[in-house]
Each structure stands twice: as C-alpha cells, then as structure tokens.
C-alpha cells in the first residue's frame, strides 16, 4: 500500500570533475510505490540511484531514507539503512567466480550466521522459485547464462535478504521485448509479494508505463516532471513529450 515518503532527495548536487551531473534534484519516493526515473543516457539517473543507497555522497543537498539523512555518514550508519535495500545493477554484477547458488547464498551466509547449509539451500531454492527459475540453475556459472537470466539472478541475489527497498538500474536495457516483459512482471511481483518500494531507472518507456506508479523525468540535472503514467502520456511538457515519443527535435507544447 502506497503511503508516506520513504526516500527524499533534497537539492541533490553532484559533479564528476568539471561535469555537473546533478544540479538540483528534488524528489520524494513514497513507501510501497514503484517510482520510475526516466531521462537520457548519461543524464545522471544511475547517479541518483547510487546516492539513494549510499554508494555516492552528494556534493550538496541531502538524501533522507525513512527520516534518516544517509548522505551524512557522521550522523547515521549507512550500513544499517543499506541492509534494508537491494539493488539490481545494469550488468547484473554477478560474482563471476561463484556459481548461481553461491551468488545468492554469499551475503545471506555472512549476515545470518545462525543459518545452516540446508537452510541456505532452501533460501536459494525459494528465491529461484520467486523469479520463476528451476532450482537446478544454482549449479550454473554466470558465464553460462544469457543477459536476461543474469538480470533475473541479479534480482534473486538482491531479494534473498528480503529488502524493503529495491533499486533497479536499467533492468531491461539490452534485452529483447519478451524477456523485458518477464523482468517487468518480476518487478511488479516484488512490489506485490515483498511489499517493496521500487525505484527503477530506465529509458524504456514500454517498461516505465507498465511498472510505474509514478514517473519522474530527469533533465539537465533536475527533475522536471513527476506524474502517473496517465499524466505522463497526457503531459504538455515539451521535453517529456519529446522523450516519450523518441523525437530528435523538441516538440511544441500540446494545446
């Protein structure tokens, strides 16, 4: 059920060298919703995600998760907040030296010391079942998997610790439309089964319309639009219209 703000980005600023990626990002993500952030490639969408999970520290502004400012490591233990989050990386970021089962087990084994190996095997089987994969997959190495499989297993690893917040970095990029749809269904499933709050970064509008409760658009380091999928389709904002229609030139404002 969608509720009060869980993650707040306030006046977020970030530069890499001379390049100012985030100029003034303000966004609220509500508990239980799926927020999709759209924007052009290289526009800083992934940078926003990395701020939400404490992988990057902002040059200015604040990231507040459940009332705690995680962008200031002196004031809060980021690790405690991070334990409530999971992330699916763009390239899945599976640990190449481990098989699928070990990829899922590794973090669970380290954090839940009381669990026995049979318990861990059960968690692997349950997690694979949640992403609609056969338990026999646990013996495969990441190099033996297709792009879509890797993404699903990246998600399996992220959900094994039952996080409240799931971050997805370009979950459907590089996948065929059918596999993309499988991933979209999984994201919706995660929201329904785990009650997770999802933040998805993508430029795939088919995916965005299907999974989003709200869509936010990032342009020139600022969030220029936030609205439901229906509001997005109907918006008169020329930049949003240009993006969702995939036009090279800016479209005039609709009447």
């Amino acid at each position: 059920m969608i509720g009060e703000p869980l993650i707040e980005l306030r006046h977020l600023q970030k530069s890499f060298g001379a390049q100012k990626v985030l100029r003034d990002v303000n966004l609220e993500i509500l508990r239980g919703e799926t927020m999709v952030i759209i924007g052009t490639s290289g526009g800083g969408k992934s940078v926003i995600l990395k701020h939400c999970i404490g992988l990057l520290q902002p040059d200015g502004g604040e990231v507040i998760v459940d009332g705690k400012v995680i962008s200031d490591s002196r004031r809060v233990d980021v690790k405690t907040i991070r334990k409530r989050m999971g992330m699916l990386f763009q390239g899945a970021a599976l640990f190449d030296s481990m098989n699928v089962g070990e990829n899922i087990k590794f973090a669970v084994r380290e954090h839940e010391k009381h669990l026995t190996e049979p318990d861990l095997d059960r968690i692997v089987a349950e997690t694979l079942h949640m992403i609609n994969l056969n338990p026999d997959f646990r013996f495969k190495m990441p190099s033996e998997l297709s792009g879509g499989m890797k993404k699903r297993l990246g998600l399996a690893r992220a959900i094994a610790l039952k996080p409240e917040i799931l971050l997805y970095d370009e979950p459907t990029t590089g996948l065929d439309p059918i596999t993309s749809d499988v991933i979209n269904d999984l994201i919706i499933d995660m929201q329904n089964k785990l009650g997770a709050t999802n933040i998805v970064v993508t430029h795939d509008m088919v995916s965005a319309y299907k999974i989003a409760d709200r869509i936010a658009m990032l342009l020139d380091g600022r969030i220029i639009f936030v609205g439901t999928p229906d509001e997005t389709r109907a918006t008169t904002n020329p930049y949003v219209r240009q993006f969702i229609k995939g036009q090279r030139k800016l479209l005039p404002e609709a009447d």
């Binding site: 992988l55 991070r82 992330m87 990386f89 970021a93 973090a107 380290e110």
Partner: protein, 280 residues
C-alpha cells in the same frame, strides 16, 4: 612613418625572449609541482589503503578459508614457475662463480658463493619480481574487472566489505606465501648449483656442501624471509591499489595490470636496498 631605433628593437626582442623563457620556466615548475603533488597524493592513498586493510585484520578469524584459498592460489599455482626459475638461477650462479673465481679462488668456495647470492639476494628479490608479474598483475586485473562490472559496488550494497573479503585475504596470503615460496626457491637454487658443480664443474658433493656451510648464517635466512614478507605485501597492495584505480574498459584494466607490475618491481628494488642498508 616612425622608424624604431635598432638598439631599442633588439632590447624589446630580449624582453620578449626573457618573458617567454620566464613563462616556460614557470609552466615547467607548475607541471613539476603538479606531478609531485599527484605522486604524494597517490602515496597517501596507498598508506590509507594499507591502514584500512590492517584495521580489518581481526576479521581473518571469521573467514580463515578465504585466506587459505588465496595462499593456495598464490603459492601452489606459482610453484612450477618458481621451481624452474630458481633451479636455473642456482645453476647460473654456480657457473658464473666458477668462471669469475677461476685461477685465484679455490672451488671449495663455489658453494659459499651460490649460498650467499641465493639466500641474501636472488632468492627473495627474483622470486618477488617474478611473482609481481604473475600475482600482482592478476590481482590488479581481477579487481579492475570487478570494479568495471560493478561487482565491488554490488558487494558494498550487500554489506560485504570488499576490503574485508577481497583485500585482507590477499594481503595475508601474500605475507605468508611469499616467504614459503622463497624457502622453496632458495632450496631449489642450491640444488641447481649442486647439480652444475658436481656434473659439469667436477666438484664433489662434499666440497660443495662444505662451501655452503662455510659462511652460512641463520641471520641471512631471517633477513631473506623478512624481505620476502615485505615484498609479498608490496606486490599485493600494488595489485589491489592499481585494480581499484583502473580506468574504464579493457584498456583501463590492462593499464592497471601493467602499472601494478612496474610499481611493484620498482618498490621491491628500492625496499631491498633499504633493508640491506639497515640490516647489514
């Protein structure tokens, strides 16, 4: 129309020349300063990395298997290379000693020369240089690739501290495996020297062994092992540091590997000098 005086024209040319020279000198000074500052910053980064890993040392007891796995990876898999190289180092040392000594130093001292050379210098230094190429570059490439593929970020997100799970086991295994490999390398070099002196140089085993024992000192072996341990630390830290600083893509990873080998080799030779200077 005004005509400039010849004296003033040449004076103005001088002023321009000196101005340009001064500008070039200042620019050179600036670039030099920038290069020095960048090197100092890098040294600072390496020191911070070492301290950060050292702070995690107690975690060894929670996952000793990770370190054991790395000791096997570094030690056992490097063994064939070390065996071949150290055997031939001993053999060459014996041949060279015989050639250099011929006519004025008795062959009883062949064993002494091989023993001293191998234990004090070639054992730890050449083993470390070879391992810098084999182990250091592999660590840099692995960490660089993990960084590139966001595996390090994935570990952090899963609250699996990369320094604890990747850097600490590698450092500890370097500190343990290098001395073990140097002991084996020293032994194999002495065997190589023995085979050459007995089979090629017609020196008896008893003469060779008495030469070995003549100036043998436990202190030399201890210093050799201290060197090996320090070199092991250097190779692992340089590999890890350059892996972490790898640029994007295959080119970045390749360069990080190359830099780790170059910096390890330089540091090994510099630190070797310092240890010898202090210890002897």
């Amino acid at each position: 129309m005004t005509v400039s005086e010849p004296g003033k024209a040449s004076e103005s040319a001088w002023v321009h020349f000196l101005d340009a020279l001064g500008g070039a000198f200042l620019r050179l000074l600036f670039l030099l300063g920038e290069a020095v500052a960048s090197k100092i910053a890098k040294i600072g980064d390496v020191v911070i990395l070492v301290l950060q890993i050292a702070r995690r040392a107690p975690y060894f007891f929670r996952n000793p298997s990770l370190t054991l796995e790395q000791i096997i990876r570094i030690g056992v898999t490097s063994l064939p290379l070390i065996l071949v190289i150290s055997f031939f180092i001993g053999a060459v040392a014996a041949l060279q000693a015989e050639y250099q000594f011929r006519g004025f130093v008795p062959s009883n001292y062949l064993g002494t020369a091989v023993c001293k050379l191998v234990i004090i210098e070639s054992g730890p230094v050449l083993t470390a240089l070879v391992l810098a190429g084999r182990v250091g570059s592999a660590i840099a490439a692995q960490i660089g690739t993990m960084k590139e593929k966001e595996e390090l970020d994935a570990m952090t997100v899963l609250d699996l501290d990369p320094l604890r799970y990747l850097a600490l086991p590698r450092l500890l295994s370097g500190l343990v495996a290098f001395p073990l490999l140097v002991i084996i390398a020293d032994f194999l070099s002495l065997v190589g020297g023995w085979i050459i002196t007995t089979l090629v140089l017609n020196v008896t085993t008893a003469t060779y062994v008495s030469g070995l024992r003549f100036l043998f000192q436990g202190y030399d072996v201890m210093i050799s092992l201290v060197k090996a341990m320090v070199f092991g630390g250097i190779v692992v830290i340089m590999g890890y540091y350059h892996g972490l600083s790898a640029g994007p893509g295959a080119k970045g990873v390749g360069q990080s590997s190359m830099k780790s080998v170059v910096s390890s080799c330089m540091l090994i030779l510099i630190v070797d000098f310092l240890i010898v200077y202090i210890a002897y």
